[in-house]
Amino acid sequence: MNFNLLSTEIATALFGSVLLILSLVTGKDARRGLGHATLAGLLVLLLITFTQYGINSGGFSGTWILDDYAVFMKQVFIIAAILVVFAGKSYVEDFTGNCNEFYVLMVFALLGMMGMASAGDLITLYVSLETMTISFYILVAYNLTSGKSAEAGLKYLILGALSSAVILYGMSLVYGAAGTTLFAKMPPVSVASPVLLLGAVMLVAGFGFKIAAVPFHMWSPDIYEGAPTPVTAFLAVASKAAGFAAMLRVFLGGTPVAPDNWLGIIAVLAAITMIIGNLVAIPQTGIKRMLAYSSIAQAGYILVGLMAADPAGVNGVLFYSMIYAVANVGAFAVVIAVERATGSDEIAVFGGLWQRQPLLASVMTVCLLSLAGIPPMAGFVGKFLLFSAIMDQGIYWPAFIGFVMSMISVYYYLRVALVIWRDEPKDPAPIAVESGMRLAVMAALAVTVVLGVYPAVLSDLSLAAAKSFFGM
């Protein structure tokens, strides 16, 4: 057995356990230190992942695949986690009492995501998915003194369990029809039976829940609103990316269903997700709910890349996941800072932010514009890659819907910008930005702008990863 394939995961598991022990032996006064330890550990993990590029092999009887695709996705998760910890450290430390295990659970969630990106069979996939999801159930309810957080946790638990059940049912049907749990050994298209199709549909529904695609999205606004904001950021970004990582493995790694058959399902999902997500985001007055709906719409764009089902499409998915992660965490970081200062997450409290804290105002504007796909931000390049992949196959309508809806999304993103730049602040006191937060938002700003102007830095890497996914 080649344990080198598992070195990132082993390091992550070890790191999580060490953190757990540390959180038990240190007192409450050491909270701050624990945040720093988490950051240091995550940075080391990120470094380890860089040594894993180019391995491109599978192991453990095919249940584990370590290709560049998996490594790239793991980096997306780790970078999201790092940014979230940087931005959310003080917020978490404002929590009541036992906040120490917060980081532990975050690391375990991260481990689950890594497993999802590398899974080579249904069982590994399911267990890693559950590792991630269960950690999130707890993280969502973590603000123990807040009723809203508890409510969100309960909702997420019930709906999440339902979706897990659907996935599990789908998996058992697929296994029954295929006789194997390995993606690579799934039977070829010609022998696809009704049961296999049914199982695949259930998998789509289950994963649709994880990535919050319409019509499986109902949970996300409530839970995004109720959860502690750093958790919301992590949930919106990393768990969604992990859902996509797994979805790609299941649907493109093997051939459980003929592409022609499921293309229709994915296409319809993508279309309604883009349309409904964007339209419902328009009337929102709370920033977290608005970002929740916007992230639903973002899932729709990424689904278009999945629909293309070729290296160009996967390249789009990978590139977009990364910049979506950075821009979205950047926006949430600003929300965290403003929420800490004002105690509210209404869009109205952003009024006059340009006077109170120009850095946060600029970061928010740039990140939202990137999410909207306005050049020269990175989001535009990402959308270009996603939509040109599907257009290259002669299918134009998803690109139409995508581009038009993303221009409509400018409407609600700009409304936030309007409040930030036009209004005079109600309370002119400047908002303090501590060093961790400053680092997080500056990084988000820099990445979003630099990748928009010079995307080759990332797209070379993501293209290689996409090719490795198809064994090229």
Binding site: L369, I374, P375, P376, F380, F384, F387, S388, M391, D392, Y396, A399, F400, F403, V404, S406, M407, I408, V410, Y411, L414, A417, L418, W421, R422, Y454, P455, A456, S459, D460, L463
Partner: protein, 506 residues
């Protein structure tokens, strides 16, 4: 790398904007002068580029080409030919004037001038980029500064500035969404994967099937058309201009709109000649809609900015019908008219800006006899108005005349209808001028100051161009012809060749 005046002209406002970031926001004088200085450099360089253009050599000159994203075939390529140079000059003339037209802005001056310089740089970039991707990038870059400028420095009259800004932005962005689909389709269909490029010159040489051309040209025509306020996608234009601050109105009506016509010609007609041939009659028909419909609406307007807003929609009809004629004369006229209308509408908006700043109203019935108190503003308005109705000796006479000749050959009936539109133009222009400038002296305006000092710059610069280009039209027409002739020749050759092969395209 060889010296390229246009690249430096493009950099000047960007460098200026960066400099401004470091200036304390209370140093208003310094901020204004830095903005003016950087635009001055850009203007001088573009003048130099205009008059140093080598007609014998022709084609694109002052080119720069830097590979940017190799894998996607994106090149940072700049250059200018007879089509882009008038547009570049126009941008800088108006940009330079717009700085002075905003001389009295005291609210968040620093941010205003940074955004204004970025806006000008973005517009300039679209006209000199030879790469489709870079072209689109520059085009989209201007949208957000415009939005912010409208909502902060705009004015709420008939519609609120928030509404105006959002309408402007969303209309342009939806148009650009269609445009983007068209451009990406063009890029993907031109060459197989691996050899793809966004270079316009390479795309123009690719061959596309006829059905694709028709489909794709429709997308481009919708995108560029809504930017050019083609009927019936024009409704953003009057509302947007009314809400926007003077400088934005000047740049928007003066040059930004012209990106639509420029793109339609450079990308649409040149790369998709059969599509253009197919849709030209429809565009000609819509163009008459522009001229007549917007003209009649302008007649009924009581707000000065709305009159000019609708008049600019109406004038774009002439540009469209000239383009739709698809012969050298018509297209020459269309391009020259874009230049003419740019100068004229920018001057008009600048003067309206001064009137509004002093009287705090743009409501025509409330104004009157301003010629007594503000002779200089009155001169400017008069010049702009006369140019608008095509008075010989001013800039727009020759272009409009050329358009009529060109379009008459292609669409006699529509051309006659469009010429009839000039009468409407004359009616509303003269009505406005008479009501606002002439008539008895009104006591309530007696303490108003006429424009002086730096405020005179828009009048002097744009007014001088109006007259000079009217007196010596060949400086403009020769340049335009040098750009248009090769394009139209290529297109006609392609169309006739394809027709011969394909067995007849009507």
């Amino acid at each position: 790398m060889n010296f390229s005046p246009i690249a430096i002209a493009l950099l000047a406002p960007i460098v200026g904007a960066m400099l401004l970031i470091f200036i304390p926001k209370d140093e208003r004088r310094l901020i204004r002068w830095i903005a003016a200085f950087s635009m001055g450099i850009a203007l001088l360089l573009s003048l130099a580029a205009y008059f140093m253009y080598d007609f014998v050599k022709g084609g694109f000159q002052y080119t720069i080409s830097i590979p940017w994203v190799k894998e996607l075939g994106i090149t940072l390529a700049l250059g200018a030919d007879g089509l882009s140079l008038p547009m570049l000059l126009l941008t800088n003339l108006i940009g330079f004037s717009a700085i002075f037209a905003s001389w009295n802005i005291d609210k968040r001056t620093k941010e205003f001038f940074i955004l204004l310089l970025l806006l000008i740089a973005g517009v300039m970039g679209t006209f000199v980029s030879l790469d489709l991707f870079v072209f689109f990038l520059f085009y989209e870059v201007v949208v957000i500064p415009i939005y912010i400028m409208v909502i902060i420095w705009g004015s709420s009259k008939r519609v609120t500035k928030e509404y105006a800004g959002m309408k402007l932005t969303i209309y342009l962005l939806i148009g650009s969404a269609f445009l983007l689909v068209g451009l990406v389709a063009l890029y993907l269909n031109a060459y197989p994967a691996g050899q793809r490029t966004f270079l316009m010159s390479a795309l123009a040489q690719a061959s596309f099937s006829e059905s694709f051309q028709i489909y794709c040209f429709a997308l481009l025509a919708f995108g560029f058309g809504s930017l050019l306020s083609m009927f019936p996608f024009h409704s953003w234009s009057p509302d947007g201009y009314a809400g926007a601050p003077t400088a934005v109105s000047m740049i928007h009506a003066g040059v930004l709109k012209k990106i639509g016509g420029y793109g339609l010609l450079r990308i649409g007609v040149l790369t998709l000649p059969l599509g253009a041939k197919f849709w030209a009659p429809v565009i000609a028909l819509l163009a008459v809609g522009n001229v007549a419909y917007a003209g009649f609406i302008a007649l009924a307007q009581k707000d000065l900015k709305y009159v000019v807003g609708y008049s600019s929609v109406s004038h774009m009809g002439y540009v469209l019908i000239g383009l739709a004629a698809m012969n050298v004369i018509g297209v020459n006229g269309a391009v020259a008219n874009m230049f003419a209308h740019g100068v004229m509408s920018a001057l008009f908006f600048a003067m309206i800006g001064w009137v509004y700043e002093r009287t705090h109203t743009r409501w025509i019935p409330d104004l009157g006899g301003l010629g007594h108190q503000m002779p200089r503003v009155a001169t400017g308005m008069l010049l702009a108005g006369m140019a608008g109705l095509g008075l010989p000796g001013l800039v727009s006479f020759v272009p409009e005349f050329t358009i009529f000749i060109g379009s008459f050959a292609a669409y006699p009936v529509l051309a006659v209808l469009a010429i009839a539109g000039v009468v409407i133009t004359a009616l509303y222009t003269l009505r406005v001028l008479a009501n606002v400038l002439f008539g008895p002296r009104r006591a309530e305006f007696d303490d108003l100051q006429d424009i002086k000092g730096p405020e005179m710059v828009p009048l002097v610069v744009l007014g001088a161009v109006l007259i000079l280009a009217g007196m010596f039209p060949w400086y403009l027409m020769d340049m335009v012809n040098a750009g248009v002739q090769p394009i139209v020749d290529t297109v006609l050759a392609k169309v006739s060749q394809m027709t011969a092969l394909g067995g007849g395209v009507k």
